[in-house]
């Protein structure tokens, strides 16, 4: 009740506070300033910092099990670099994305941070983050050091705005005991659509609903996207001029998920996280979930589980993935020493991202991914083997607004409220209008 009021007031306060703060900021300055800031630092040394002691504020949203791993890395960095002191602040991602632009607008922004790759273009368009082409150049980083889609995803309107830290794809987690109980080989989970459906049929006969189809974005929308790209479809046209998810591949993908419910391979009305809980308590055999689930499942005692790449249901392999990327925030006045130190930090963390992989991530850097130590992390390596088949949203400002529309369509279809085709067609019309609005707002 009054707590609702509170929440609302806080939300409004945040927006209005930000409005008031911008009112104080100058008008035309930021763009020129951004250009100056980046022009000068190209000459700075890429891997070591010898200037006066500086402190860097590093913000991110690692509130889960990943937080302590990053904190440890930051502490190691600090002790290895006596003249750079990095302080890390952690917020819930949702708060973070609301807070950071307001802080930057007020001239109180952090020095550097992490963003999900699909937020980079929007924040570049809104001038929250700085172009980093020269950082990439100074560090000698190229596409070949990562993987083409991950590297390209950080480019907006011809300029690079982010440096990849990791990718976190979807994988197929499975409960070995449940598979054995249904007479399936727990050491060789299904790899194709036929094998997958045969396994689900066997499980059904054993009284287990094998794949709980969740209607919620986590991870229902990710499963839909993976299937869509497996059927050679796409969420949007490459230039994001129109949406494409309602075309035939999209209908096929969503129909496949809905059929899981209709054929009794999944219960109806799967709640948020119920699919993941069902995997752990033996009520389900499979759960397509993010790589971040590895450490959660490790903590579950007596659970025999494994993870494999997603089975290939469509005509080609594909999987959803997110990617955490480093960004540098715009400041009122550029501090060359801080920029140089930030560069060293980004490079150092990237180079030590094997530690980060242990948090349940796939390092973006190819050299680390191919190294023996990463291949020794059995689960991470299994999911990481999908690296060449990952898809990312087009790097267009406001793309998240349009992709959120798909979530509702998936929700309505899996809850059997609308047919897959109707739900997707309606959503496509809405998404196209949002894309058009955004072209007008951010400039095509």
């Amino acid at each position: 009740m009054s707590l609702d009021n509170l929440t609302r007031r806080r939300a409004l306060g945040l927006g209005l506070g930000a409005l008031v703060l911008t009112g104080c900021g100058g008008g035309g300055g930021p763009r020129q300033q951004a250009a100056q800031q980046t022009g000068a630092q190209a000459t700075a040394a890429p891997t070591s910092y010898t200037g006066p002691a500086v402190s860097l504020a590093f913000w991110n949203g690692f509130t889960g099990g990943d937080g302590p791993f990053m904190k440890k890395l930051v502490e190691q960095f600090n002790s290895a670099h006596p003249n750079i002191k990095v302080t890390m602040n952690v917020y819930q991602w949702a708060d973070y994305y609301a807070k950071v632009p307001a802080a930057v607008a007020a001239g109180q922004g952090p020095d550097l941070g992490i963003m999900h790759v699909d937020s980079v273009a929007t924040n570049a368009a809104r001038q929250v983050v700085l172009p980093l082409d020269d950082v990439a150049k100074a560090l000698g980083l190229t596409e070949a050091d990562f993987s083409p889609p991950v590297w390209q995803a950080g480019v907006y309107k011809g300029a690079r705005y982010s440096i990849p830290l990791d990718v976190h794809p979807l994988g197929m987690f499975y409960n070995k005991s449940v598979l054995s109980k249904a007479g399936l080989d727990p050491e060789s989970p299904p790899k194709t659509g036929e094998e997958y459906l045969a396994a689900l049929e066997a499980l059904k006969k054993a009284g287990v609903q094998g794949h709980w189809a969740t209607p919620f974005p986590f991870t229902g929308s990710m499963q839909f996207g993976s299937l869509l790209y497996q059927h050679d479809g796409a969420l949007f046209a490459d230039d994001a001029s129109v949406s494409r998810f309602a075309e035939e591949p999209g209908v096929q993908a969503l129909t496949w998920l809905v059929e899981l419910v209709n054929k009794g391979y999944s219960p109806k009305n799967v709640g948020q996280d119920a699919d993941f809980i069902a995997l752990q308590n033996g009520k389900a055999a499979f759960n397509w979930n993010g790589i971040w689930s590895i450490n959660t499942l490790r903590e579950a005692k007596d659970l025999q589980w494994g993870v494999a790449p997603l089975p290939q249901i469509g005509t080609k392999p594909a999987a959803w993935a997110g990617s955490h990327q480093f960004v540098v925030f715009k400041q009122r006045a550029a501090d060359q020493n801080k920029l140089a130190a930030a560069k060293v930090f980004i490079n150092w963390i990237g180079g030590h991202s094997i530690e980060w992989a242990k948090a349940g991530q796939v390092p973006a850097r190819k050299s680390i991914r191919d190294g023996a130590e990463f291949q020794g992390l059995k689960e991470q390596a299994a999911i990481g083997s999908q690296i060449d088949h990952l898809y990312f949203l087009p790097s267009v400002a406001g793309i998240g607004d349009a992709s959120a529309v798909v979530d509702q369509a998936i929700n309505a279809a899996i809850l059997l409220k609308k047919s897959p085709k109707d739900a997707l067609t309606e959503a496509a019309a809405k998404a196209d209008k949002i894309l058009e609005q955004n072209r007008k707002k951010y400039g095509a």
């Binding site: 009054s2 209005l16 809104r126 929700n411 209008k433």
Partner: protein
């Protein structure tokens, strides 16, 4: 010379005697300043924002006139369907939650106002859920009400999709909200009852009034100002419902239980279309003003 001094000293005493003309305003000033800076000014500024295509970080904030408002009435716009679906959700929730949140706490307050052993314990018990945060309440109930794994369905031996279907989603949202906030209105009623003079009850007894007549002719009229407060704040709070829809049902199925505030927050602070979101919040505000005025009329009409 002497008179002037006398006069000066007299005015001096007057201003110290707390009776000066400016005194009430001076006492109100601290709140008035906060009110103007944090409520009035942003509210007026919001009207200005709603007439623009506004993103606080973009340099161009083009003036669009009433476009943000007409879009809400144009079935072909990007926001029409979602906005009215969310207004409908807010309307349904308010319609079904307010009667329970007004009547049930009154019953509880009546019971808790009677002398019995353990009264203080029960007063605390009914108020207890109110101290929990919305996230705690909703995460707990989301697991308890899970359609396939939840304890509630298993206890009832039912198979109800509390969090993913309508109308059961509404039952869950209203039920959880009542459980969570019933104690707050209960305490307000209880305080109101303790303010009703004892003598009125004695007089009623002398006149031969029974329990029901006492309630009908003494308690209820005595609670009128309190009830007006409870009804008004409860309607506003229900119309502003956010957390339960955001966390318990996540708008399922297909956005049917997504409330207006959740949608506005999405448009304004996720999509950064603050002009459009401001226009929406003014439409909601207008509706709430009309409802509040009707409410005041209704209570005044009875007296």
């Amino acid at each position: 010379m002497a008179t002037i001094t006398a006069k000066a000293s007299r005015t001096g005493t007057a201003s110290l005697s707390w009776n000066g003309r400016a005194t009430p305003y001076l006492f109100l000033a601290p709140y008035l300043v906060l009110f103007c800076v944090f409520v009035l000014a942003p509210a007026i500024f919001g009207i200005w924002v709603s007439l623009h295509d506004w993103d606080f970080l973009l340099e161009g904030k083009p003036f669009v006139g009433l476009d943000n408002y007409t879009a809400l009435l144009d079935p072909g716009s990007a926001v029409y369907a979602d906005f009215w679906m969310s207004m409908r959700a807010t309307g349904i929730f308010t319609l079904f939650s307010v009667p329970f949140l007004v009547v049930l706490p009154l019953g509880i307050a009546l019971l808790l106002n009677r002398p019995f052993r353990g009264r203080t314990f029960f007063r605390g018990l009914f108020f207890a859920p109110y101290v929990l945060g919305v996230a705690v309440v909703c995460l707990m109930w989301r697991l308890l009400l899970d359609p396939n794994l939840g304890l509630i369905d298993s206890l009832l031996g039912t198979d109800i999709a509390w969090t993913t279907s309508t109308p059961w989603g509404w039952v869950a949202l209203v039920g959880v909200t009542v459980w969570w906030t019933i104690g707050f209105n209960g305490v307000i009623y209880l305080a109101g009852m303790q303010d009703i003079p004892r003598e009125l009850y004695d007089a009623a007894k002398v006149d031969g009034a029974g329990r029901w007549a006492e309630f009908r002719h003494v308690t209820l009229p005595g609670l009128r100002p309190v009830a007006l407060f409870v009804v008004t704040t409860t309607i506003l709070a229900s119309a502003n419902m956010f957390g339960q829809s955001y966390l318990l049902t996540q708008g399922a199925p297909g956005g049917e239980t997504r409330t207006a505030i959740v949608y506005m927050l999405d448009v304004g602070l996720s999509q950064y279309k603050m002009g459009s979101a401001s226009a929406m919040s003014y439409v909601l505000t207008l509706v709430l003003i009309v409802v509040s005025v009707l409410n005041f009329r209704l209570f005044r009409g009875r007296s």
